[in-house]
Symmetry: C2
């Protein structure tokens, strides 16, 4: 682990504590460099985006080794801190999580998202105590490596639509989030939750340590921050918008053999070369 | 080399002979699948796009091994034929080209673009006889492997602005192209040339075996085909348009913390998952 990883870990922890961090998620060196050049102070990876770019479905179809290789390519491409989406840790035991976190730090990333989705059929979550042990393992490995790893504990209560109604989901997410914070998590990530009132309830229960995921149709970042989110990340949305853009390009090529969709938002070749000079 | 590579080589050769092939260039499994799903019968890779996605400048800064790994990921992601941009072959000798072509076929691709740019400073081209030997080496390796490799011989006369004027460039490109065809090339690729009248001169000199590269500002594909192009490819343009789109997304996030650029051309998550089911 390099000095710059240690340094970036501190920067990212400060950004996380300070709050109102709008965090774009990237899938390759190019998307990473665009956000760095645009002035973002940190980026996250998106497991879905990386999976698609490598030819897999999302949800741990990619191996730990391949995912860590992609995280390393992204971390090497930028100077700003990178936090890694490690899905459910590529294994269910605390030891699996330890091994993945070791890989994350070796790759040069300084934070993780760890899901409680057990990736089983029918879809289910790890028990609260099992997930707490997995989070504690992640925290221990960061300490063992001497870096201030920022742990974003994701609960999929809302994403999987568990419970019978919003109130029950909120209660379940609060119970899980509080246990995860006690186990060493720094933030609780609740994708699928975008209602500002419910977000405020969770933020209150987590002393503000809440990460929400924006997507099309979501309230603006300022609304989500006002509702108590400390971090707003974008999950797969930038990748999905890229796929939509490429699809529009493909349709125009098929239909008229013209390039207006390409021309509309072009990036110069010389400018692109500059993004990677001296790297 | 698999049966499907052999099969795809025949399909791609037929598409190349039949002419009027509009060939998009991709850089990862996701961009590859979008074009396949849109109905394109074949795709090419873009060395620039792959370089940026991996964190390098274009122009053989990536290693042969890494480039072949990326070509394999793309070829594995689709059923349609893939032709590989192998830059100047990752080495200057015919033996280097042989080794790269072996890697291309192992990766599952069925065609190549091979440049005559020697990647030296000051910028210069391989001599005509040296490049002819390199092309012959590529052709021999295809035959040795038993596949109908389609060889697109690129001359950088126009791209590097060699010669004193358009007439001299045209004469140089014709001399080189005819020598390359005699050495075993199937098509002559002249990036940087977009004037329909000059294209017609080259097409006549090459018996129609001409590949032009479209970019913003280029005439429509139909105009380029009417000017005698047998293939029109897109080089790095789709990647550059993707970078431009991501840059627009980044600017909106920075300025207003909103997602309208993402929303404008979104691709559904479920639809994205479907792109990679059973792969």
């Amino acid at each position: 682990m390099s000095i710059s990883t240690k340094h970036n870990a501190k920067i990212f922890r400060d950004l996380s504590i300070q709050g109102h961090l709008l965090l774009p998620n990237v899938w390759d060196a190019a998307s990473a460099r665009i956000f760095e050049a645009a002035g973002f102070p940190a980026i996250g990876t998106t497991s879905a985006g990386i999976a698609y770019s490598r030819g897999f479905c999302d949800g741990q179809h990619i191996s730990r080794e391949e995912m860590m290789h992609e995280v390393a390519i992204i971390a090497r491409a930028v100077n700003i801190p990178v936090t890694a989406d490690i899905e459910a840790g590529y294994g269910s035991s605390p030891g699996d999580v330890t091994e993945t976190v070791r890989g994350v730090i070796e790759a040069g990333a300084v934070g993780i998202n760890l899901e409680d989705n057990a990736h089983k059929k029918p879809l289910s979550l790890f028990s609260i105590s099992a997930q707490a042990k997995r989070l504690a393992a992640a925290k221990s490995e960061g300490e063992r490596q001497g870096i201030a790893l920022t742990i974003n504990a994701r609960t999929d209560v809302f994403l999987l639509g568990l419970g019978t109604d919003e109130a029950e989901r909120t209660a379940m997410a609060i119970e899980r989030g509080q246990a995860y914070l006690a186990a060493g998590a720094d933030l609780i990530f609740v994708p699928g939750l975008l209602d500002p009132r419910a977000a405020q309830d969770l933020s209150n229960a987590f002393e503000g340590r809440l990460n929400l995921m924006a997507m099309p149709g979501a309230p603006a970042a300022s609304t989500l921050f006002n509702a108590g989110a400390q971090r707003v990340s974008l999950g797969p949305s930038v990748m999905l918008a890229s796929l939509g853009n490429i699809q529009n390009i493909a349709k125009e090529l098929q239909q008229t053999g013209t390039w207006s969709t390409i021309e509309a938002r072009f990036f110069g070749f010389a400018e692109a070369e500059t993004l990677f000079k001296h790297r």
